[in-house]
């Protein structure tokens, strides 16, 4: 039996009926067509499906959509403002922090969430913040450098 839920996603209100076994990843991707949220494992290991729920980065594959009832969600589609990229996205682009790009949405959300709470993270803190987001392509270095550069630019 479907349950009616309401939530805000990227500053837009939604009221939708969801089956109780549907994950937030599925509902975002399939019902809301927000395909920037990726599914790499479905069991919370890889972090590709990271979205921000009420200020915290979470693996959306581990959240049932009904649990998100009433919450405020940001997906990768809600990070840029119009055609101007968020500083983190901009530094990812400029500094080569993107290769295949499958981890990138989750990585960007974990990084923006970190900088919201801790605008001046150390390298270690950056690495800890993204340690739940696996990347097989980059070796992480350029990602870490991009987050640090974003931190520098956002301070100004």
């Amino acid at each position: 039996m479907k349950k009616l839920i309401t939530f805000r996603v990227n500053d837009r209100e939604y009221e939708i009926a969801v089956a109780p076994n549907r994950t937030l990843t599925q509902v975002l991707r399939e019902d809301l067509n927000l395909l920037g949220t990726k599914e790499g494992c479905g069991v919370g290991d890889c972090g590709a499906c990271t979205v921000i729920v009420d200020g915290k980065p979470v693996n959306s594959c581990l959240v049932l959509a009904v649990q998100a009832d009433g919450s405020d969600i940001t997906t990768i589609e809600g990070v840029a403002r119009g055609d101007s990229l968020h500083t983190v996205q901009q530094t990812f682009v400029e500094m080569g922090a993107i290769q295949c790009g499958f981890c990138t949405p989750g990585m960007v959300l974990s990084a923006t969430s970190l900088l919201d709470k801790n605008p001046r993270p150390t390298e270690r803190e950056v690495r800890e913040a993204i340690s739940g987001n696996l990347c097989r392509c980059t070796g992480y270095q350029k990602i870490v450098e991009a987050v640090q550069e974003a931190s520098r630019r956002m301070k100004k």
């Binding site: 996205q89 800890e128 340690s131 097989r136 392509c137 992480y140 270095q141």
Partner: protein
């Protein structure tokens, strides 16, 4: 060195913004109206006869549109190497590993498809399960494939020089054994595809692949659809590293069910299915005997290797050759003997993974070379430098080093790491190690015997003169080929990267063998460069006719026409252009004739301007059996110094520092080259310390998740120093050659050599987990 405008820069990737914003669409993001969802029934047994398949209940389930087995799919065999086509979409009579495909269902939604799969009844008769090479090769063992009694799917025997004779001249002879563990590709995006067979009999397949070309050929062959009616398109791909290089059963099954139902069919692997499909790094068992003179000259090498191949051949024939042929270089080695065996077992099939065939052999030998250096009382760097090959050298198995910056790489990591101040001087528990690596810039021959071009490229200028459209079937899988090829096109044509629109990864755009064996920068790059030069020639010819200036006196650079003898009067051309673009914005002004104007004039006089390019390597290598495998137009090389800390109480290894130098010939994009190096190092670190696909006694993967199969996280990887060495490869476009795979080669042995430096033990088995290292350290203390 010549000054360039677009290449040898740090321009951002052309796909970076799409990927940073979530706009980039991968195969699992695709959908079509009226689409069905497919699901597989896969074998629960590692080895069993199929006695009967009953699909009645599945077919009756509401919402099920198609159920297929070998009966519907047919029995055409396919695979990678035509000499070993041993796969079928669905097993007709027996299953050979847990996960082997038995049937598939297409239904209105995924839940229904999966429920229907569970309703298919299969009667199996279990057969003896062979999970390792010893039991598979044992006298009287059951044959996994009837054609191969004894279960040896492929063997290679090669000798160059005379190993036994050469050994007699040697002062030090050392034999060591080495075993790695089966790896998983660990790419983030599970394979997915969407097939659409339309009413005109045209099949379109969107799929997560490294090679649209091989998928097109295989689908056409297996399903009996004319190749001209099969179009394969690669959307954005979330990594491949080898396992996505060949067609998979999912792609063929989706096409089959789309043809039968007349509806689009989508299929997506779960992460567990990615592990079952595998096609990644084999487990290698190497025994190496090396002979060296007391002055440190390496004289002879014998390498015996057994590969645990899993249930089917896949890339295994190439793997077994590569495991021998790539080992001698980058050292001068006059005598080399190799015996390799690839053995079928009842496990998921192994194939190609980054550093194909060479990684375990390199790990073994570079560690053995360190042991020999110690016996000679020579510094490991000096020992390597003494034996190093240089540009112009030819290996005993006929590989031609048309460029080789190996010495420069070794010196760069020695100097960049502080080797001389650290080697032998670090406190207990800390160590430093060095190793070298070597790899092809693209396999010299296609996988099937053919005179085909390895890559073609087409450039079509837009008719308004506004854009350069580059069409290539090359596969961007994350390594950056769209950007590299766009840069090459822009540089060769004389425009900016912003002016180039890259259209890639589609069989309708030409032939390209795809992203494997580190081929695309060199091979696709050549084709693109030729297409750009052809385009430029046509534009300049049109201008020449209008202005009566010889082509030789003109060029295009930075988006404007360069007149070598001073600007002529081109006001008539400009007036013509402005008339054509009346009322539009951004009309050209100033004293230079723009490329846009020139391209428009060319269209007005000649019609659509299309430039063509194509590339295949010339004849390569020797005449012996298997000589084609390992040949390449160019070879990349690298060196690495790694520092580690070993916790003496637990055996935990922390990699503190890595200094890596790679000779990529010429860096088209310096940021991308560094990115490939850093990614390679992290994959190598994972393989050295964590990664192992494990099986239970029934042949089931015991750790089919990214939680239990551990790839490095951001906390496992240190920041690394990446040094780009450029040797100006004569066979590469603008001097470029590989970096994608070769960069992994020195990582594992440099880590192992650093561990030896730290705690004095030699490692003969990967991964070197804390437990394994602790046991080795304890064993040493007892002695």
């Amino acid at each position: 060195m010549k000054a360039y405008n677009v290449i040898n820069t740090r321009l951002p990737r052309v796909d970076a913004k799409a990927k940073a914003t979530g706009d980039a669409r991968y195969a699992a993001d695709l959908a079509m109206p009226n689409m069905l969802y497919g699901a597989f029934l896969q074998s629960p047994f590692a080895h069993a006869k199929i006695l009967n398949i009953d699909t009645t209940a599945a077919k009756k389930l509401p919402g099920v549109r198609d159920v297929v087995t070998a009966k519907e799919a047919g029995l055409v065999k396919y695979g990678v190497s035509p000499a070993r086509y041993d796969e079928q979409v669905f097993c007709p009579d027996k299953v050979r590993y847990v996960g082997d495909e038995v049937a598939a269902v297409a239904a209105d939604d995924l839940e229904t498809a999966m429920e229907a799969v569970s309703l298919i009844k299969v009667d199996y008769e279990e057969l003896p399960v062979l999970l390792d090479i010893e039991s598979a090769m044992k006298e009287g063992a059951i044959a996994i494939h009837d054609d191969f009694p004894g279960n040896i799917g492929a063997e290679v025997h090669q000798e160059f020089g005379n190993f036994e004779e050469a050994l007699k001249e040697c002062d030090i002879v050392r034999t060591d054994r080495f075993v790695n563990k089966r790896q998983d590709g660990g790419f983030l995006e599970p394979q997915a595809c969407l097939a659409h067979y339309d009413l005109n009999g045209n099949l379109t397949l969107w799929t997560s692949t490294q090679s649209v070309h091989y998928v097109q050929r295989s689908v056409s062959m297996v399903l009996g659809i004319p190749i001209g009616k099969v179009r394969v398109i690669k959307p954005y791909v979330g990594g491949g590293f080898g396992p996505k290089a060949a067609v998979n059963a999912m792609e063929i099954a989706a096409c089959l069910m789309s043809r039968r139902t007349g509806r689009p069919v989508k299929m997506v692997f779960s992460r567990e299915q990615v592990f079952l499909h595998s096609r990644a790094r084999h487990q290698f068992f190497h025994e190496l005997t090396t002979g060296v003179k007391k002055d440190g000259t390496i004289v002879a090498l014998k390498n015996t290797c057994y590969l645990d191949g899993g249930a089917y051949s896949s890339f295994g024939i190439a793997t077994i050759y590569y495991a021998g042929s790539l080992l001698g270089a980058p050292y001068k080695l006059p005598n080399m003997k190799y015996d390799g065996y690839r053995v079928y077992t009842n496990k998921p099939t192994c194939g190609a993974q980054r550093g194909h065939g060479g990684v375990a052999a390199r790990a073994a030998w570079e560690q053995q070379l360190d042991s020999i250096a110690a016996e000679l009382n020579m510094d490991p760097v000096e020992f390597r430098l003494k034996n190093i090959m240089k540009t112009g050298d030819v290996t005993c198995n006929d590989f031609n080093m048309s460029s080789l910056g190996m010495k420069e790489c070794l010196e760069a990591v020695r100097d960049g790491s502080g080797w001389s101040t650290k080697k032998g001087k670090l406190p207990a528990g800390k160590g430093i190690g060095v190793a070298c690596g070597f790899f092809v810039s693209g396999a010299g021959y296609p996988i099937y015997r053919s005179e085909t071009f390895h890559s073609t490229a087409t450039i079509r200028l837009s008719e308004d003169g506004g854009a350069v459209n580059l069409y290539t079937a090359a596969a961007e899988i994350g390594q950056g080929s769209d950007t590299i090829l766009g840069q090459i096109a822009a540089e060769a044509l004389g425009v900016s990267l912003d002016d180039v629109k890259v259209h890639s990864g589609d069989t309708d755009f030409g032939v390209d063998l795809g992203a494997y064996s580190s081929r695309q920068t060199l091979m696709s790059g050549h084709a693109v460069k030729a297409a750009a030069e052809d385009t430029k020639r046509q534009v300049l010819e049109a201008l020449s006719e209008k202005l009566n200036i010889s082509i030789a006196d003109m060029d295009i650079a930075k988006g404007v026409v360069v007149f070598k003898n001073g600007n002529p009067d081109f006001s008539q051309l400009r007036t013509a252009y402005i008339k054509e673009h009346r009322g539009w914005e951004d009309l050209p002004s100033g004293g230079e004739l723009t490329f846009r104007e020139a391209a428009r004039i060319a269209f007005l006089t000649r019609g659509v301007i299309i430039g063509n390019g194509a590339y295949k390597p010339g004849e390569l290598g020797g005449k012996y059996k298997g000589a084609a495998v390992g040949t390449s137009p160019a070879y990349g090389c690298s060196a690495q110094v790694v520092e580690v800390t070993v916790d003496m109480e637990t055996g935990k290894v922390t990699v503190d520092d890595m200094t890596d130098a790679h000779d990529c010939g010429f860096a088209i994009n310096r940021t991308n080259v560094e990115g490939q190096m850093q990614g390679s190092l992290s994959m190598g670190l994972g393989e050295a310390l964590f990664e192992e696909v494990r099986f239970d006694e029934k042949g089931r993967v015991a750790n089919p998740s990214l939680g239990e199969y551990r790839i490095p996280t951001a906390l496992d990887m240190p920041n690394v120093r990446t040094i780009i060495v450029e040797s100006d490869e004569p066979n590469g476009p603008f001097g470029a050659k590989e970096v994608g795979e070769g960069a992994i080669m020195p990582t594992i042995p440099a880590i192992l050599n650093a561990i030896h430096d730290a705690v004095g033990v030699r490692i003969d088995e990967l991964p070197i987990t804390s437990e394994r290292l602790y046991a080795l350290m304890k064993g040493k203390r007892r002695k």
